[in-house]
């Protein structure tokens, strides 16, 4: 790409999370955009601060301390923009936000298995919690529906239904119930509404709801025909509505949006945008999977050659929602990830105590182990929930396993703050349980959403920053599926380096093997499965592939899919320790 195409502007990206606020500087170095440095500070959306601006300024101050650049005015503590001749300031700001309470959402559609599902998927592409659903199968009377909406005090209503030019009468009846419910709420508490249904009714929607709701946005129909679902335009409108909602809810969001000249987006939306873009750029038909475990939510974005599946799950967030995690999963399912010999009660109390202080971090090894076990289960659940919404061509051929992917990218505090890169990789492998052969990257500075929003300032920035090695390559993972007993040999692997030397591994079922291959290097990996095991080339198929290195090298995961975890706690803990040791302890 010619350097002249790059605008020579520095960009400050700010991400306001529920627990941490990050400030990241991107600048042009030798004609290419580079990630320069990042600074972070605890977020201040919550009391007692109640103003995200304080955390933002502290993060920028920490960024200044790292880079030596002056970004904030000495006297007014305001951002210096554009960059000044003396080198201070930045040319542009972009921002993302995931802080804020889960958005209480009412989902409305006609058919429970068609438009309601589409509306639900749309609602789940942001930080929402569905509190009520209305559809034709709802047997409540209109006044009961109305009271249900009033009682649930939604922040948002996502309204779909009717193919373009199709049913209208039924939707109008639902509109009346929603309009009346909104009318009954105090003006300042009325929900924002996104209409993404039959386009013929857009004018009626404006007339019926326009004067009674907090804000009304009309999007293209997310279900233009029974066979077609198109969430992209709706996702965009929803992202803009979410930003407006956060402006209403949280002090300082207005100012940040002003700094960003309107380039403020929900973090998960920005993450989804960049994953869709990258999956298109790299023509990934099998899919790029990006997961992020944060305090506000666990999000899963999967791109399939430009087609995006995006799921944001506050119920699997590791912050204030942790107290509710046991409503989503059994405590034993979290316990299975623990190397510690502790009682269920200890884990239960940990969940509740941590939910009181979402931004606190584990200070001891035991607490870190608990935190990592919870993160594994949260990610495990989030990925399985999202996987159901993958496009048909990306659904797995075997039930209970993931479809093969081209690449996995992990980010968010629980993954990137792992005590070692090996632990970060093991968390991803345990929770996702990928199938096939794929590189795994770590977004240690949580850059991905920022790249997603920065793309609106510069199309070149995301690609140049990614290609400059802003992410840490953890290695290439080879997952082995086999019907074997623990300890049976299932694979012979040989790695031939560029200098002709070789490394070999005899892989046994239930184990993790590592063949060293430094970051930035490639090598030829020959795989010879035994007992019709599938090492990503097909059952029993032998072959060789070129693989890229990483911090750990080539990781052969022969622990089975789904992962075979012994029920006996003593044996399970022993095995967990062994796996942990295999990736560096």
């Amino acid at each position: 790409m010619p350097a002249s195409l790059v605008q020579n502007e520095s960009i400050l990206a700010i991400d306001v999370g529920a627990a941490v606020t990050r400030a990241v500087l991107f600048d042009v170095v030798e004609g290419q955009y580079r990630f320069v440095a990042s600074g972070q500070a605890p977020s201040t959306a919550e009391a007692p601060f109640k103003d995200i601006g304080m955390g933002v300024r502290e993060a920028i101050t920490n960024l200044q301390n790292v880079t030596g650049a002056i970004l904030l005015g000495e006297h007014d503590n305001n951002l210096i923009a554009p960059a000044q001749p003396d080198g201070s300031g930045v040319d542009a700001v972009v921002a993302t936000i995931s802080a804020g309470p889960a958005v209480k959402t009412v989902v409305v559609g006609l058919l429970s298995d068609i438009s309601v599902q589409s509306a639900r998927r749309l609602a789940e592409s942001t930080y929402s919690r569905v509190v009520d659903t209305l559809d034709l199968s709802d047997h409540r009377k209109p006044d009961q529906q109305m009271d249900g909406i009033v009682r649930s005090r939604p922040d948002l209503v996502v309204l779909a239904g009717g193919t373009d030019g199709g049913a209208s009468r039924s939707i109008q009846k639902m509109l009346e119930a929603i309009g009346l419910a909104c009318y009954l709420m105090p003006m300042e508490k009325r929900p924002m509404v996104l209409y993404a249904g039959n386009q013929k009714l857009a004018t009626d929607v404006k007339e019926l709801l326009g004067g009674h709701v907090g804000k009304l946005e009309i999007s293209y129909n997310i279900r233009p025909s029974l066979e077609t679902e198109d969430l992209d335009p709706g996702r965009h409108e929803l992202a803009l509505l979410m930003t407006k909602l956060r402006q209403r809810q949280i002090k300082g969001v207005d100012e940040l949006n002003l700094w960003a000249a309107g380039n403020l987006l929900p973090t998960a939306y920005a993450q989804g945008r960049i994953i869709r873009f990258l999956s298109k750029l790299y023509e990934s038909t099998r899919g790029l999977l990006c997961v992020n475990i944060g305090a506000s939510a666990t999000s899963v974005a999967a791109g399939f050659a430009g087609e995006l599946t995006l799921g944001v799950y506050p119920q699997y967030g590791l912050g204030e929602n942790l107290a509710g995690l046991l409503q989503q999963t059994e405590i034993d399912d979290i316990m299975r990830w623990l190397q510690l010999d502790i009682s269920q009660n200890v884990l239960r109390e940990y969940l509740f105590q941590k939910s009181l202080y979402p931004s606190s971090i584990p200070a001891t090894k035991d607490e870190q182990a608990l935190s990592q076990a919870i993160a594994r289960q949260a990610l495990y659940l989030a990925v399985r929930t999202a996987q159901k919404d993958f496009p048909a061509h990306a659904q797995p051929t075997r039930s209970g396993v993931m479809p093969p992917l081209d690449l996995i990218l992990g980010g968010g505090g629980a993954i990137s703050d792992g005590t070692s890169l090996g632990q970060s990789l093991l968390l991803l492998l345990d929770a996702i349980q990928p199938v096939g052969i794929m590189p795994v990257l770590l977004d240690q500075n949580n850059l991905l959403p920022m790249l997603g929003v920065a793309a609106s300032r510069s199309h070149y920035l995301p690609v140049q920053v990614i290609e400059s090695g802003a992410f840490i390559g953890l290695g290439t993972v080879v997952s082995v599926i086999a019907s074997a007993n623990y300890g049976d040999q299932v694979l012979r692997a040989k790695l031939t380096y560029s200098d002709g030397t070789e490394a070999r591994a005899e892989v046994k079922f239930g184990g993790l093997e590592i063949l060293p291959l430094p970051n930035g290097q490639t090598a030829r990996l020959s795989l010879q499965p035994l007992h019709r095991a599938d090492a990503g080339l097909g059952p029993g198929k032998t072959g060789s592939v070129t693989v890229t290195g990483g911090a750990l090298g080539v990781v052969i995961d022969a622990r089975g899919r789904p992962l075979q975890i012994p029920n006996d706690p003593v044996r399970r803990r022993e095995l967990m320790k062994r796996w942990s040791y295999a990736v560096g302890g």
Partner: protein
Amino acid sequence: MLAPMLHVLPLATIIRERTLPVAGKVNAHVNQHVNPTDVIAEANFAREHVLLDVARTFGVTAGAADKMIKVNQGDRVMQGALVADSGGLFSRSIKAPRAGRVMVVGSGQVLMEVGDTRVELRAGLPGIVTQVLPERGVVIRTAGALIQGVWGNGRIDNGIMVNLMQKPDEILSAERLDVSLRGSVILGGHVRDQETLRAAAELPVRGLILSSLLSPLIVSAYQMRYPIIVTDGFGAMPMNSAAFRLLTTNDKREATVNAEHFDRYSGNRPEVIIPLPVSSEPPEPNSFETFAVGQTVRLRRPPNIGMIGMLSSLPRGLSLLPSGLRAPAAEIKLENGETVLVPLVNLEVVG
């Protein structure tokens, strides 16, 4: 770095907003002295609505139905009152299914609110009304001891506080709740069974101030009609020494237990207020500070969870923690003399 505060104050000016959940009538005025049980505002609000579809019932257009409706917006109607009449030779009518108020009339429909519920808002704490929030409530100022907690069951009451705690890790059991404690606010300790919560309800008590609660008891705690406040957290945790000292030295004083939910966005949190006579107005507490050497802090996570100490140094940069994580941290000299390294995000300043 900015530091959140935990208020455990022997004497402070306390300013609290007390508001109705819906718009209503405020009975108090500025400069009025109020007692905890005074009703300062009241409201009627309907929990349910009834939609009468006149057009559909009569099988006419919305416009025609509007002409048949006999009630107007704002009308109060009794059960059985005439709402609409079709007129003509074979006249049909629609009557109010329940007593209520007409909210909206139009498009051939009538929307009524029914099932009026009266809400009375009590002052909750003694003090002076400094501001009236029209239709919503008041702002009350008082002076006294303030002890914040981490969890509350959403209720409020007040009464004479009786101390049953000899030590911070005291366990409160049902056997200790005898009839002499009826109508009191109990300073308890750790509760680990449902029987204790039930025994307190049967007396009944005016409130429970606990150090900690086993998390499986949360559902039961919500069902209790008296306020329950937890000062330190879930599991078997002793009360932090600052709260323990302050609460136990105020034994037999009147205390307001406002066990409201910890709302991390509004900043409302459960608290105990012990009004005290003052000759001059004490200072208002800060809601946050910046971490600094010499501050008294409370540890929010293990190890040493709930312990109070003094911030003795703030190492620059990131510190390596026993967990393997790196984070900005502080050295804390605990009350037992031990010095420990604690990440700043696991600390709150007590004051």
